[in-house]
Amino acid sequence: MGRALESAEESVVIRGLVRFLDERSGTAPFVKKALRYVFPDHWSFLLGEVALYTFVILVGTGIYLTFFFEPSTASTYYAGHYAPLRGHEMSVAYRSAVDLSFKVRAGLLMRQTHHWAADVFVASIVLHMLRVFFTGAFRKPRDLTYYLGLTMLVFALLEGYLGYSLVDDLLSGMGLAIGYSVLMSVPFVGANLALLVWGAPFPGKAEFWSRMYVAHVFLLPILIATLLALHLFLVAARHHTQFRESRRTTEKKVVGIPTFPGYAPRSLGLFFSVAAVLFLLGGLVQINPIWLWGPYHIAQGTNGAQPDWYLGWLIGALRLVPNLDVTIGDYTLVPNAFWGGALFPLLVFMLLYLVPWLDRRATGEYGFRNLLDRPRDAPWRTALGAALFAWVFVIFLAGASDRVFVSFGISYVAQLWIYRVLVFVLPLAALIVTRRFCLALQESERLGQIRKQAEAEARGELPQTEQL
């Protein structure tokens, strides 16, 4: 067995595989191109990949959960191992979620990993979106890609909300009551819509649970997966953006590592890292201990209730709005929950959807953009983005003021009034400070260049730019 044979045998395997596939699919040219497809290298380009891989984990753990979870509101009494709940009346849905946590081996690991993955999924999408915004990656020809990504974010929020609502613990019931109320608050048709979705006044018909379940395990995942496929197709069709790093990176040429052999192990490594982090969190860090919340009953509520982080901005908005119902005679045009629960997110998402158009209008730039801006290169965009982010973030923080009261004893009422002021002041401050900061960075860069040039001249070298 000489080395020549070794090498030859390896070649035989590869050749066999390649021939088999190509002769049956004719994809050898495509595969060759795909293997030499170029990925520009920057840590921030990985955020979208993290979201993609988290979605894979979500689907995997989610399928496992469906084998044990029963989406039914039928009433039952708990008789399992967990003593504090024994004898309590609860829905079959809640009991099966508790059993899945305590009786099914590895069930709690899967449930907690699924929950952690949902939180990480939305977080990575949001960070990815911020990266895309602050570098101007949403510009033509990638505006369509951006819209698809934004729509996935909307669906991801809805998907997460439905996921923790299905369990029917006390917190999910409170969340559903709020969702129902926000839908009811839509001017004119709110009550009709809410009755349509819930089938009857809250808590709704038994069928509502099947509707949520089908939406959570089938409709929304399919929608997200379809949009994801389109998103990735468009990314590949127009190639990645890149920073202006050297002379080789231009609007015409993309520079980076090819899929194979360079990028594949990197990206696979990222996938396994994501999986490692999620399963370590799922196994070691408790999340949503539903047996502590107890089953939902309409007459019960708990103090200090908080949703998953990605709905914190909405609870903050619902809490901040003063008690204003707009009425016309005997009719209620705008019930209060509409302002914080519906108008606020609608406004934020409308602004986000308008970003590519607004940017074109503001800059007058209609051409193709493959090179990214650094945030400082576009001070107005960066400043306006920072202002919008500060606005949403301060409202998000306001949603946690009850926890701050419990932990630090600062009056809840006082905090709310402070936030009601900050909501106006902070975005403005963020706008001004960020813009100044960008301009200062530009200025210091310019000075640095001048100094370099002067030093070069002092050494008697001709500055490069003037050589021509």
Partner: protein, 334 residues
Amino acid sequence: MNALRRWAIALGVLALGRKQRRPRFADRPRIVPPGAPDPRAEWLVLGLLLGAAAAAAGFVVVYSFNHLSHQTQYLGLSLGLAFAFTAAALVVVAKRLVVTEELEEDYPVPGHPTTQEELEQLVAEGGDRFTRKRLLLTGAGAAAGALGAAVFVPALSLGPFLDTDALYETPWRRGRRLVDEHGKPFLLDELERETFYTAYPEGADKEEVGSPLVVVRFEPSELHLPAGRRDWAPGGVVAYSKICTHAGCAVALFRKPTFRPVEPGPALICPCHYSTFDPTRGAKVIFGPAGRPLPQLPLLLDRENGELLAAGNFSGPVGPSWWGVRSKAPRNPS
């Protein structure tokens, strides 16, 4: 058999052998640039892969135990570590064992102007034989609209879309007893002052939005109920819907002043968004986002046995607000 043996050898060699690479495609220039072997990195990768294998095997072992304390933690730890070792192996492969090239590639052309024109032409010519385009488009629009409606109308079966009357219904009616969650009637004499009770209509579904009440007893002199509600609180007992008028959560908190001179008065508070209601003044909103007071239920006292009964239905619809919430009072189920 022979082929099978050769494949097995090839795979074994692939897995175990260390190679001195000779140019295998001597007739063609290399695609991937050459790089020096790194045996230490290979050992490292092997170690990491074995680590992954050990951790994954550990997962199987932990799983196979029947009653193991902290099983979830061990399962998560072993599976997480298996993934982490695999990730580390791949990172070493990426950084030290494969050649990291920096390639240039042309961005795709922005568009294909000629093909675009051809497509335009194709579509236009394909419709050449139509002479009444606008009329036909109108017809197509009508058909599409009606078909769309026909497809979506069955969705209305999901709920009573136009009939919102159910929102005004509650199980309360004159003479219905207040009971606690175990079905025990509320007796006036057993109610502590300034203590928070939850009551339900006797014999009705407790999980309906119109069912649960908050019941608090005050000194009658402390009550300042709105005009026309003077006799709604026999013995100083007031009853309100427990469902917040803002976002439908249960009003589950009661603020009881412990030292009257300096503290704010008693209040009912919803823990979802901290809407705060004054139970001595008809559950008027004193803080927070709720736009309406909690609907009040008029009470009766059964003089014979001291039980509390409903004297009618609520002062307004229960639960969150909608377009018609102020236009009608609730009624009894028919």
